[in-house]
Symmetry: C2
Subunit: 188 residues, 2 copies
């Protein structure tokens, strides 16, 4: 994935295409002069419209306060070729260095939030905090995806899926069963 | 996956190995004389100990009331060879027929809950409802995995990951980056 790959607007109600398969994502955030990037594997789509995504962000993470204070973040989708960068970010400490510089990632300007997006990623989902009622108890944030961008191709990028213990599964071949689906199920 | 494949107890604090990669799962439930099976793609691990999993279960689903009334379910992990069964269940209507009979699945007795588990699945996670505070607003259930069972092999089964529109990604090759991880990160 090149940082200058062409991306276009992606419908926010369709972000499940990228997030429902369960990839590791990179979350970028900013509050005042501080910015950060963290890895995240604990997330789920929660609704199509509004486009809601629920995420666990540990309070021990440097990003936690940036996201809570700003009420914003960008969820970025890295591809398999970025695995070493993903691992390095997951094993780094926040607040000590600028992670964009440290990991040679290019910050891009988001359209609807102040947090930077990561240009090298296949897709970028600009998020606003929608519901923080489970943050104190479970570090669980509900975000609304207010703007989405995705590379034009491939339609189904190769992604990383973390299993713990330093081991990732990658996405494999596609299985198309569209003809077996009822119309009203396909529409959801 | 054969219905008589040997399974053994699996530590509940390690269910992320199977669930964090984001597979489609089959949720089985029972309340009084009624039982059901549904497909689910919107779920996330939320905590290791207690072993918490958050799940969106649409209130329009026949399983919704069985799960809410019983406060229990089993999350079952199907493998790629079960794709047609998964699609048929996802496109069926609840309450009209017994899905175990209709889809030739074998109910098994769970140890800690009354809901039946699905023997043909690679792993079974017995769940009790832990927090229903977001059910009314988002159909979001927080379950505690109180008992887990998994087939002895393969360690990393081939799973299905739904992208919408009738298309699944399957899990592909493994990428091991354990040597790049800090000890304290591996432990979580």
């Amino acid at each position: 994935m090149k940082k200058n790959a062409v991306k276009k607007d992606f419908p926010v109600n369709l972000v499940r295409r990228f997030l429902e398969p369960g990839p590791v994502v990179l979350v970028s955030s900013r509050w005042k002069e501080n910015r950060d990037i963290m890895t995240m594997g604990w997330h789920t789509v929660m609704e199509f419209t509004p486009s809601l995504v629920g995420c666990v962000i540990a309070s021990s993470n440097y990003s936690f306060n940036l996201i809570r204070d700003s009420g914003e973040c960008v969820i970025n989708l890295p591809t398999v070729d970025m695995v070493d960068t993903v691992v390095k970010i997951g094993n780094s400490r926040g607040g000590e260095t600028d992670k964009f510089s440290e990991f040679a990632l290019t910050p891009g300007e988001a359209l609807r939030v102040e947090a930077p997006l990561i240009r090298e990623c296949h897709a970028n989902f600009e998020c606003r905090l929608y519901d923080d009622s489970l943050v104190n108890k479970y570090n669980f944030f509900v975000f609304e995806v207010v703007k989405a961008h995705a590379a034009l191709s491939p339609k189904y990028p190769d992604t990383l899926h973390y299993t713990g213990d330093g081991i990732f599964q990658t996405s494999g071949k596609l299985v198309d069963r569209k003809t077996m689906f009822r119309e009203e199920i396909l529409a959801t």
